[in-house]
Amino acid sequence: MDLQAIDLGVARGGVPVLEGVTFSLGLGRALVLRGPNGAGKTTLLRTMAGLQPPLSGRIEGAEDRIAYAAHADGLKSMLSVTENLSFWADVFAQRDIEPAIKAFDLTGLRTRLAGTLSAGQKRRLGLARLMVTGRPIWVLDEPTVSLDAASVALFADAVRAHLQQGGAALMATHIDLGLNEAEVLDVGKFRAVPRVSAQDEAFL
């Protein structure tokens, strides 16, 4: 089933940010969200991931199929790279963390505590987590922050492999990911008309 946003409105801090967002993401495809800073990409992705309720409209095909990666990586600095990954694999009832470790070139860092990694290495570990979720739809918020060119390529390969296995990916980013097959959606055009926050409307 496709992941669909139908006439979706999202708000942050009570202020409507985007309105009328409509798209559909089929399996095997990738969609890149673009838009200037503060456009509402993060807000939209959090809504898609089910972390906040939409203001209006609805989302379909998201139930229990989404693996979300946020600005923060959710790593435990006192656990090693493998321990961090195995934990998430356990949570998602998966077994094998080896492919993830290979795909993001973490082999040499296996026993290192996550807290001692460099910014880019942390990010790689955060992305490797996606591969142990077993979920078909990846929802990624600026996945390549702090990554060097080689790691961005690793990431693009991983996404491509995921798409080939029938997965899908929804990403927000400002830079070029090297994923030419991805469609692009500019969220700028969905900007909500400036008005008071949704919760304040009752008082007008």
Partner: protein, 242 residues
């Protein structure tokens, strides 16, 4: 040749490897002699009955508890001033030994207190100071184990040890002011030697020497262990970087 040579970890391990058996056997024999003599072959005190036999454990443990902290203080100073790794690790190695000595002093004291004072615990200044000393040990050990980086941990704990020592002294005065106590005066001081009968004195001294040797042997062994652990980590790190 300067004494600082022994601050080299490898040298330290080699030297202590040679010394360790001697200290261990000496500690064992002194402890055995002192305690067996004290337990089996000393008369009961006319006032305290057989409880006086607790003295062979209580006093040495109490002394070592204090001396261990002093040793840690000195080692911390050496680390701060000269940054010899062995001294930092020795301080780290001594802390749990000192903490256990403190617990022994507290436990034997409490057991002694029940028949003598009719209570397991009283807020007597000396007892209280010991409890505070125990808290300092706990904090010191907790801080060591909470910090990942070894040198940072050494730096922080040695400063804690310095500041803590000052506050421990302050606490001692505060506690003395707060409550006047029940506890024995120091009867083992050199100038009052005759205060205590020779029958009790000899085994007590032997036992004290035994505790001191045991402390030294344990600190040697544990420092070696810390050094080896550091070395293992160093080799592993190199293996990874290669």
């Amino acid at each position: 040749m300067s004494i600082w040579e022994y601050a080299n970890p490898v040298k330290f391990i080699r030297t202590t490897d040679r010394l360790l058996p001697w200290f261990s056997w000496a500690a064992l024999s002194c402890l055995a002699t002192g305690l067996i003599w004290g337990f089996f072959f000393t008369p009961d005190d006319f006032r305290q009955g057989s409880t006086v036999k607790i003295i062979y454990l209580h006093v040495p443990a109490a002394l070592m508890a204090i001396n261990a902290w002093l040793m840690m203080l000195v080692a911390s100073l050496i680390w701060i001033v000269r940054r010899h790794h062995v001294s930092a690790l020795a301080a780290r190695a001594a802390a749990p030994v000192g903490a256990v000595m403190t617990v022994i002093a507290l436990a034997t004291g409490a057991i002694w207190g029940q028949p003598m004072w009719g209570t397991w615990w009283a807020w007597d200044p000396r007892l209280t100071s010991f409890l505070i000393l125990f808290l300092f040990y706990l904090g010191y050990i907790a801080l060591w184990s909470a910090i990942e980086d070894d040198d940072t941990a050494a730096d922080l704990t040695s400063i804690l040890c310095l500041v803590g020592s000052v506050f421990a002294l302050l606490s001692r005065y505060a506690v003395l002011f707060w409550n006047q106590g029940l506890h024995q005066e120091a009867t083992f001081s050199a100038d009052k030697e005759q205060n205590i009968a020779d029958v009790f004195w000899y085994p007590a001294v032997i036992s004290m020497v035994g505790f001191a040797l045991l402390f030294i042997a344990l600190v040697f062994l544990r420092t070696q262990t810390e050094i080896r652990a550091r070395r293992a980590r160093a080799l592993m790190a190199r293996e990874r970087t290669l």
